[in-house]
Symmetry: D2
Subunit: 381 residues, 4 copies
């Protein structure tokens, strides 16, 4: 019989739902030593918090995250707030001895992230950042193929994360559902929101990034601000692209925007090695494209691998070959791995420390865009 | 606060899991008047039934389905057994006044199906058959587009359901996990298993089928039988293809096999109308292909619609544009619609009576394959 | 220095252009013992014949094909007329000792075809039918892969040829550019025009077809006839689908129509073998899809082979990897192979005799559609 | 009757073949006032020049390009030599009053290019550079759609040109077939060879580029040199990526490499506008992807436009809908347009002056890669 893992969730937005669903579902598909228990959800607006709790079965509600953190019946704090609150909550939660599952990006910048790392490390609490795409089975498979050495020496990495949801000038910034456009709450625009995903995957698959040259753009300079009620300058980057050099000698291009008409969440990456290449696309997340130069030349081509068989990562838990899973399952997998980590005493990745590397690259990207100079990331390579 | 809808599930296989997951999940995403409660699961093997109950949170276990049906605390019986038990259970459950959710195909043949229809209709109980693909959002969208009249007069329908999992001669027939290869348990092979899905969708999208000409083949004539321990004649159809004429004057081809190397569950359909065409593929179930002849000729082409936006069927309940859902969600949608049906006093489709039409086509297909003659389906057109 | 091969072309339509281009081009890319020389073009309308001759560089013009056939300076007659003239011309040309390159389908029916075969065989003249798709490099590659045994035992074959150009009721039948809708000129509709291509490829790749069950439909029953100036009954089949059994035990579906909105010339075939499968699509004719079950299971998927490398059929003659050729090149390849055949004294395929097999299947298909019975093709299996 | 346009071709390599084919073919498909006549081919190696002349039907052979230029019977010089000879030949040919068709890139650098522009402009001779991809029908269609204003304000441009043919360390540099790896002959690596194509298309579709930040890499530092017989330092860039800002405010990423395993000639571009987006891929050059935000939201998706209909650019000259043309046809179109230009007295684009803009961007890219600084192109925006 699984032991309880008592969850205290802070925030109730899109990510609050994705995580709650993962906690509810994981035990039905994975055999684990711990079963997440939805102990409490915390939000400033009590009515909304109660509605969320009712919907998902949280046992209680808090309106002050400090109170939540102090509760003895909570094992783990799940931080789903806007980015500007991550650090304060995480540092306090660590001090209270709680495990922490923090939404990405880790922090507003690397300095904050460093402080958070020190907090969890000195407290010795389990910690993890929700870079969920690592646990899309096709992405995990990509990692396995690289680790098996199938690609050989890597020459190129390229990633984009393209959306089109902020093209309208009528869209406001700030507040419920729109804090990602408010630089005070988000820290940056697409860099912290979307490129952070691309960078996390890249560091995981291809190692450290040493240098970047970046440009950013804010296409719509002013928007109504929902918190002030006034038209205000937009502080975030609407688009960002950068060149990078990895420690392994490979070259990369990264690009993200919310102005790419026709793309809702087109996160793609491709990696070209001496012997093989792989690519992936979030819009068809259950497929991995694989090219193996070792194939007979007359039948050599990109293979479209439908990642649904039982011998593919995580897929023995779900249905049968040919039947795809979706976006939400990546969170289920991450909860499963977090619990496995607790059980085995090994950290589930990415830890805060892992995620700090992504933060350093984000900082370097934003610096480079400001200065127009190639910028060292200071990251481990 | 939602009222309980007490479920008694019979069977614990692949479909038992898919349905249980739907019951557990639906309330978190849909606002409904009833909340499914996993009251009991029933299977002959008590140990397995208990394990299944533990995993999914069923409150109790039964080993005799007659006992389950008699329990006062059960509102609805979910039949997930092999096909040869559907009729007897359904007739008894109807007599006991239970709602019934029956796995597809409805029955071993149209005669059994007719008896089941009479039973539920005279008992006046809610009834539904799990032809889940109707509730894949892209398929529901296809139905909506047709109902809006976007396609105009229909000329052609074509569907295939291709798999490759029984090519090996080492595969046995009969028993746990393999009853679909045993004619006594399944009634037929790909016809009842896979073509039944294709036919259900087709009847829903394009109306009744009047006539068919079919061929079947059993490539591997003998297999070890797990129930008898002997090599026995294989009684099912490994492959089946048929030509059809619809009541609306359109022509169709249907094909299914478990010997199409490279295809795991390639269910595709395409429908060509005077003004527009649509096609869909289960391997990428979150996309609908749409061709509109009304587009400017120089930019006319098949549109790949990523069915993930909030204005697409069911998608307001899930995530955000670009983030796909998977196979299992079709069952969640079906439970939601079943409960809506109870609430509104309108049957959720397909009812037993709807599913009987599919059964009639299946019977005609198998007859035609036996006789080599074009065969009337006797179905409503 | 190449020797001349003097061509006398009869007809100047779409196929006249495709063949003329092939004769003009072949010597620039293939090293051959003979160089086609455009000696004469023949058509009833002298003005048009002259214009065509001027455009392509034909040295002379004839208005009576009998005169052309009698000319001593003509080595080979190329028959590009409507189908109803093939037999008479071919029999006469054979009697005159000319080589014959005949457009497909060979004839109006198998009886005519048989007479044509006897004529060329008794005259001992080189003969070939322009089933050009055999020489699309991806299709030739498919043939090679099958001949190498990569697919193993074949279970399934499926082909469609879908167009949408005759949906409008305003389209007339008969005469210039529209003779394919006139049953007197064409013999049949999609069966002889499009399915003949599908059948030719199928017989080549998968051997003989023993039996068929077919249906045909004429959606628009009457059309203005350009030759009579009256609205007349349409005698051709607008659509045709059939089931088939091959001599090797595999099952097949074939379908063709000119009412599949969204498809211009979607000729696709797929063949499923025990060990591998292949598929091809005329709309992307430079690609072959290949699935090899022998691949490691975690990286197994359909390979999209870009058939442009120098080690692929015919491709050493053209450009460099990645740069595609198109439709017209299949005719160039066929001319090259015809000339190679003359040089080596081996017939270039398909000969009249090969094409007669396709004619037999077409006849059986049309018979089956009329009688509603499974029909033996009488073809070699 | 068409008047002769006497061609003198210098060089006989891959491009020599592509151009010769275009000259031979154009008159059969386009009605033009001039018919190219293959008057002479020039190459240092007389034997090879003769073989080439025999194959293509050139009337004569020269071994010194200066002699060719002086011939009175030559109207137009076609420069297909390695890049390092373009300037000297072009300047001399202009002085001799010849029209000039020059292979891309225009020159080794912008200074040379400027000199060439002045030479042709002061001589008043027709001049054009073979950036053939502008005349792939799908690309021309993209241009037309943009010019019609369908995209609205442009936010993003991205292009890659990926190959994998130089990954092997065994490949030599220099000499026949390999001069593109020799910096003395080519001037640069992928920048002048592949990115020049990308830049030409981009400037044409999206206007001037103002600034770039670039990086280059030479993965294999030394290779055997075929001209010296020694292992020598490789002077070209194997890979190059750059960020760019266009004059219209849009952002861009460009990347090219010969180390992207799995890609033979993957030239793709995508352009995202406020109202619509388009993308194209050389590997399927007969298709254009188009997304129109104005479509009804429930059927909105990327349209795959099969650019083969008669109302699409150049396609009325070729076959029928659905039948694709290939790479070589872009050269035929360019010859046709060059001749139209002569007839109308309007320059066919890109002229030397147009191509100089591409040269300036290439120079800025290479400078930026050397200095690590954002670099102004000095180009017209």
């Amino acid at each position: 019989m699984a032991k309880p893992l008592n969850i205290g969730m802070i925030g109730y937005g899109f990510m609050g739902r994705a995580h709650s669903n993962a906690y509810c579902t994981v035990g039905n598909f994975f055999e684990l030593e711990y079963q997440p228990v939805l102990k409490a959800v915390c939000a400033r607006d009590e009515g909304r918090a109660k509605a969320f709790a009712d919907n998902w079965g949280y046992e209680s509600v808090e309106t002050d995250w400090r109170t939540l953190i102090e509760r003895d019946d909570i094992d783990a704090i799940d931080i789903c707030t806007p980015n500007n609150l991550h650090k304060e909550i995480a540092v306090a939660a660590a001090a209270a001895g709680k495990m922490i599952l923090c939404e990405k990006p880790l922090s507003m910048n690397a300095d904050e992230g460093e402080e958070m790392c020190r907090a969890v490390e000195s407290a010795g609490v389990a910690n993890m950042v929700w870079y969920n795409y690592r646990r899309v089975p096709a992405v995990t498979l990509a990692k396995n193929l690289i680790d098996e050495g199938r690609l050989g020496k890597i020459f190129h990495y390229r990633a984009v994360f393209l959306q089109d949801w902020t093209i309208s000038t009528d869209l406001a910034q700030g507040g419920e559902g729109l804090w990602r456009l408010d630089v005070d709450a988000a820290g940056s625009g697409v860099t912290g929101d979307l490129l952070a995903h691309c960078i996390d995957t890249a560091l995981w698959l291809n190692g450290g990034i040493s240098q970047v040259s970046a440009m950013t753009e804010t296409f719509i300079k002013e928007r109504m601000h929902n918190l002030t009620g006034k038209v205000e300058k937009v502080g975030i980057d609407d688009a960002c692209a950068f060149l990078a050099r990895f420690g392994n000698g490979s070259l990369a291009t990264f690009e993200s925007t919310r102005y790419a008409r026709g793309h809702k969440a087109l996160y793609t990456f491709e990696i070209n090695g001496e012997n093989a290449s792989i690519s992936w696309d979030l819009h068809d997340l259950h497929r991995l494209q694989y090219f193996d130069h070792g194939d007979d030349s007359i039948v050599r081509g990109w293979r479209s691998v439908h990642v649904t068989d039982g011998d593919m990562p995580y897929m023995d838990k779900w249905w049968v070959p040919g039947l795809q899973i979706g976006y939400e399952h990546s969170f289920v997998h991450q909860v499963a791995d977090f619990i496995e980590g607790i059980t085995k005493g090994e950290p589930a990745r990415p830890t805060f420390r892992d995620a700090l590397e992504t933060q350093k690259v984000c900082d370097a990207v934003l610096d480079s865009a400001r200065t127009g100079q190639w910028t060292d990331t200071g990251a481990a390579i």
